[in-house]
């Protein structure tokens, strides 16, 4: 249990300290590598002991962590890739190293917590910290305003999906099942459907599935080690992981599983086409990440966890290797355009061979990892629907094409144009160190062998860890897909694949979202701001000026009417007073006469009243 807490707290606390402590530049890399290494040891420990831990947090749910068969596989994967990426980055990143490594460790802590989260509170807590740190990492070079803008796009887009987790939490509470992820299938309908919809949205958003995929393209503005971690074993992978984790819930609804399967298959196909059309190595890898995660999401929809997990793990290793290789070439040659990368693989042999192996794995060439894992998923798809299988197979064929394109680009001999592309992104160092090459090589080994997880003899033990019976792809399917992959890779060496414009521009998704959502929102915001200033406030100001006008009128009325009547009364009294003086003439006979009149009046009054 202590190991489980440390697994999260060690990278989190060291990361926070590196971010905030001034003047740790020189030490940052070493501290970071040591921390990541310690985290890997802890990860292996918790994978073996599978502990749980919980502490009181909110009234409706504690802070709970648990390691089961599924997370026991993913936790070491995340930790291992983190360590290799951090080793690479300790050489590759040369400015603001404290901030960089601090954020990387914080990010890794959040990703690890995402994997071991036992309920929705804990999951969301980790999930959004992962999003927040990814923003800061993508926008790491903030002096280029557009890079931070890319971070904003990534964060806001994935947060749109994250709203689904808030929805799911409300639904879980309303459905009476509690917030524990494992209990969600027991929620009452329609709450269960609401929870499934929310989790599906969150998973698809983070996994860069359709229609969210475009943020991944923008995320490539981050440093390459960031891409290597975010888009292989963490962040994007976490989207796929979440859907695998809640696959029983998706299945229980009867519709969410189909939705996930089809969206995954469609993403694998369409983003595969996008990848084929790219000429920038990082953009190609990004599109291929979304496409490869499509197979994971497909597996989650099919309930084929072992195939999905194997695909996730194999892809993590493969893609981390390729992103790091791309980063090494970017630092050395100053470019990420295929035009400038010609011969890059020949120039630095270990790096080139490692990247080549990873690219072959990505292509689905036997006996490398993704060949087997993809077929494990496709076998499950065939049991569900032939169409799903056909779409998946087509997507697999596309991955052979784009991986082939990548292979050709880095291995072909440089030509006259190559030099013109050098240093078009940044000033290259023309140097690749051993730390960089070795990191990539280790990952390439993983990319080569991890397919064993779904092949005999390991398959049944692996599936058993996940509590499943193994779905081993048939010998014919394996042969067929392998043959297709080899044929297509060879074909791309001969013919250039097409690059249609719709695919080059990532299906126009970002532009469509901008036109359809962002711009209208900004317009509404601007007009509401005007409305607030001119209309709502006007009511208030009019009330105020109205009451001032009213007061002026009252004051005038007061002067004219009220005070006027008072003056009038006073004047009349004055006149009456003047008149009343007249009888006081000072002459005695006048007084007698008045007294007689008064007396007579009194007598008359008494007579009248007395009767």
């Amino acid at each position: 249990m202590t190991a489980l807490w440390l697994l999260v707290l060690l990278p989190a606390l060291v990361g926070a300290a590196l971010c905030l402590a001034p003047r740790v530049e020189r030490l940052a890399g070493a501290v970071s590598v040591a921390t990541a290494a310690g985290t890997l040891v802890l990860a292996i420990m918790v994978a073996m002991t599978q502990p749980t831990a919980a502490v009181a947090f909110l009234a409706i749910g504690g802070f709970t962590m648990r390691v089961d068969g599924l997370s026991a596989i993913i936790v070491p994967t995340v930790a291992a890739v983190t360590l290799l990426v951090v080793i690479f980055a300790s050489r590759d990143i040369r400015e603001a190293r404290g901030r960089f490594h601090g954020l990387m460790l914080l990010f890794a802590a959040a990703a690890l917590l995402t994997v071991v989260a036992g309920n929705l509170v804990t999951l969301l807590f980790a999930w959004e910290i992962m999003g927040g740190t990814s923003y800061a990492l993508i926008g790491f070079w903030w002096r280029d305003g557009h890079r931070l803008a890319s971070g904003t796009t990534a964060f806001v887009t994935t947060r749109a999906g994250d709203l689904g987790l808030y929805l799911a939490a409300g639904a879980a509470l309303g459905g009476g099942a509690g917030l524990a992820l494992a209990d969600l299938p027991n929620a009452a309908t329609p709450w269960r459907d609401l929870a499934a919809a929310g989790l599906l949205a969150a998973g698809l958003g983070k996994a860069a599935q359709l229609p969210f995929s475009f943020w991944l393209s923008r995320a490539m503005d981050g440093p390459s080690p960031v891409s290597a971690l975010l888009h292989s074993a963490a962040m994007v992978a976490m989207g796929g992981y979440l859907l695998l984790r809640v696959a029983p819930l998706l299945e229980a609804t009867g519709w969410a599983d189909n939705a996930a399967a089809w969206i995954g298959a469609a993403t694998a196909l369409l983003l595969g086409a996008v990848a084929v059309a790219q000429r920038d190595i990082k953009q190609l890898l990004a599109a291929s990440t979304a496409a490869q995660l499509g197979f994971v999401v497909l597996a989650a929809g099919l309930g084929a966890r072992s195939g999905g997990v194997a695909q996730l793990v194999g892809h993590a290793s493969t893609k981390a290797a390729l992103f790091l290789a791309a980063g090494a070439w970017l630092s050395a040659l100053g470019t990420k355009q295929f035009g400038g990368l010609a011969g890059a693989a020949r120039r630095w042999r270990l790096l080139g061979v490692s990247a080549g192996v990873a690219a072959l794995a990505l292509a689905g060439i036997p006996p490398l990892s993704l060949w087997a894992t993809k077929d494990a998923v496709l076998t499950a798809a065939l049991e569900e629907s032939v169409w799903l299988y056909v779409v998946g197979l087509a997507a697999a064929a596309l991955s052979a094409v784009y991986a082939g394109k990548l292979l050709v680009a880095i291995w072909r001999a440089p030509d006259a144009h190559t030099a013109t592309h050098l240093d078009d992104a940044q000033q290259g160092t023309r140097h690749v160190g051993p730390a960089e090459s070795v990191s990539v090589a280790v990952l390439a080994v993983g990319a080569a062998i991890l397919g064993m997880l779904v092949l005999p003899p390991l398959a049944s033990a692996f599936a058993g860890t996940l509590g499943e019976t193994p779905v081993t792809p048939g010998i014919w399917e394996l042969t067929a897909s392998g043959a297709i992959a080899i044929a297509l890779v060879l074909a791309t060496a001969r013919w250039r694949p097409p690059e249609p414009r719709w695919a080059t521009g990532w299906l126009g998704l970002e532009a469509a979202v901008y036109r359809g959502v962002v711009r209208p929102t900004l317009r509404i915001a601007a007009s509401l701001a005007r409305f607030d200033d001119t209309r709502v406030d006007l009511v208030v100001d009019h009330t105020a000026s109205g009451s001032r006008a009213g007061a002026r009128w009252a004051a005038a009325a007061d002067d004219r009417n009220v005070d006027g009547s008072v003056e009038e009364v006073a004047a009349r009294i004055r006149r009456a007073g003047r008149r009343s003086i007249r009888p006081q003439s000072g002459r005695l006979h006048h007084y007698y006469a008045q007294a007689v009149v008064l007396l007579a009046a009194v007598v008359v009054l008494i007579v009248v009243v007395g009767r």
Binding site: A56, F57, L58, A59, I60, V121, L124, F125, A126, W127, E128, I129, G132, Y135, A136, G139, W142, R143, D144, G145, R147, L148, A149, G151, T152, F155, V156, R159, A160, L163, Y166, L167, A169, G170, A171, A172, L173, G174, G176, L194, T521, L522, I524, A525, A526, S527, L528, A529, R530, D532, V536, D537, V539, V540, A544
Partner: protein, 495 residues
């Protein structure tokens, strides 16, 4: 004990009114008194035990105006203690922030100490007249802060603030009198009134009295459409004035909901719950969208207050939808609302303290007039970015704990309230866009030659944000105090 906490700042304020006190002494006296108050509140917190229902902890009571059944009656419970603590902390942050203040520091310190007494007094008041007196004095104090130390169109903004919120307080007074006359034995004792629930079986008068109280509180909170005094007041107020206004004074409105309106008029509250919920949702979305449309950073943050207070109103409104859901869901929504009051106080006060620096250095809050500020002012940039993420509800900060509870409780009660979720998406876009325009890119405009934060300017907002992280990661610190009180409150509303 509570009386000492409340009136110690007032005593210090009176001393500082003596013209011969030097400025330096005045500044440090302010810091010292605010520190002592924080320490005393910490002692109260440490010794706090949840009072039995219908009682208050650390209560004190003296006769005051026996003729109308009003007494000097103060005390704390789980609803007020977190706000008392937040208030003391924010005033201390303001004192530290002002250690370099040059503009009439002695009078400013006295005025803020006066305001501190008023604010603390309101949160511990257990008598409606006492509550009302503090409520109105806060308006008077803040008027002088804005008019005296503000900038731009300060006189007009201050007057608008004063008249608008003062009018609101009159509506509140009307409601209080309504409660007083309809009680079996007329009294202003809040605990008694909660027990008696006057107007329980009188939907018409009960509704009218609630309406008067709600309008009074809604102006102060503020909710849509009573919010238009807020942006000008904030824009023209000094940084510490904005921090206190948004951090502390707005909470007087929302605190009134949980302290007065809900427990004393549960019947009417349930009848009108949907209206309150809708006002909350509209405030959330409207505040977020109008904030997104601002170019003036300080106005933008002012509108996020409308948005954030909208979540509070949503949470307390949901508590009245008794028929719709389980107690657990309503409890968690109220707990979230209460947590949001504290969280918003800390975070927004920090943001206003930070943003105030912009005008001090470059004379403008206009976002388009800056760019690349992170280069000359890394400390400012770090804190502002952290504050922005705190305000947009990133986990790890207190706002997440608040909003997660409000949303899950609200959605479990009425799924339609999920539309308010868009609020956290829009605020995310708004803050990140602001960060991008202000901090990133090439250094230009007002950012050129920008002097970074001084020590006081750094530590005042930094400590507020650290507190936000502490209670965001370890929410039990606050929730152990809040949860029992909100459980009682939810039961009271369900009566």
């Amino acid at each position: 004990m509570l009386s000492v906490i409340v009136f110690l700042p007032l005593v210090a304020a009176l001393v500082l009114m003596v013209p011969t006190v030097p400025d330096r002494v005045a500044r440090w006296t302010w810091v010292a008194v605010a520190t002592v108050d924080v320490a005393l509140v910490a002692v109260v917190w440490a010794n706090f035990e949840q009072p039995a229902e219908g009682q208050l902890a650390f209560s004190e009571r003296f006769q005051w105006i026996p003729g109308v059944g009003s007494s000097y009656y103060i005390g704390v419970d789980g609803l007020s203690l977190p706000l008392v603590a937040m208030t003391a902390v924010i005033y201390l942050a303001c004192a530290v922030y002002s250690l370099r203040a040059e503009d009439r520091p002695r009078i400013q310190a006295a005025l803020f100490l006066f305001l501190q007494t008023v604010s603390l007094g309101l949160f511990v008041a257990a008598d409606l007249i006492l509550f009302f007196v503090f409520f109105d004095l806060s308006i008077v104090g803040m008027y002088f802060v804005i008019a005296g130390w503000g900038h731009g169109n300060a006189a007009r903004s201050a007057l608008k603030f004063f008249l608008y919120t003062f009018l609101g307080s009159l509506a509140l007074l009307l409601g209080f009198i309504g409660l007083y006359v309809s009680a079996d034995t007329p009294t202003f004792d809040m605990v008694e009134l909660t027990r008696m629930m006057p107007l329980q079986d009188n939907p018409l008068v009960g509704g009218l009295v609630l309406a008067a109280i709600l309008v009074g509180l809604a102006v102060k909170t503020p909710t849509f459409p009573f919010h238009t005094w807020l942006p000008p007041a904030h824009t023209d107020a000094p940084a510490i004035g904005s921090a206190v206004l948004a951090g502390v004074l707005l909470k007087m409105g929302t605190y009134g909901f949980v302290r007065i309106a809900m427990p004393m008029l549960p019947d009417a509250w349930r009848d009108w719950a949907w209206v309150i919920v809708i006002v909350g949702i509209v405030s959330v979305l409207y505040g977020a969208l109008v904030g997104l449309g601002q170019r003036n950073l300080k106005r933008m943050i002012a509108y996020t207050s409308v948005n954030h207070m909208g979540y509070v109103v949503l949470g307390v409104g949901v508590a009245g939808l008794v028929a719709a859901s389980s107690d657990a869901a309503r409890r968690v929504a109220v707990a979230g609302a209460e947590f949001q009051m504290v969280s918003h106080g800390l975070i927004t006060a920090a943001l206003f303290l930070l943003v105030g620096v912009l005008r001090d250095r470059a004379g403008s809050y206009d976002l388009d007039g800056y760019g690349g500020l992170a280069a000359p002012a890394p400390r400012f940039a770090t804190l502002f970015a952290i504050g922005a993420f705190a305000s947009l509800g990133l986990p790890g900060f207190s706002g997440f704990i608040a909003e997660f509870q409000i949303f899950s409780g609200a959605i479990a009660t009425a799924p339609i309230t999920a539309v308010a979720l868009l609020g956290i998406l829009i605020t995310a876009g708004m803050f990140l866009w602001a960060i991008q325009r202000l901090l990133a890119g090439k250094t230009r405009g007002g950012s050129l030659g920008f002097r970074d934060l001084s020590r006081g300017e750094f530590w005042a907002p930094a400590s507020l944000l650290i507190l936000s992280v502490v209670i965001g990661v370890l929410p039990r610190i606050v929730l152990d105090v809040v949860d029992p009180a909100t459980t009682v409150l939810t039961e009271l509303v369900g009566r």
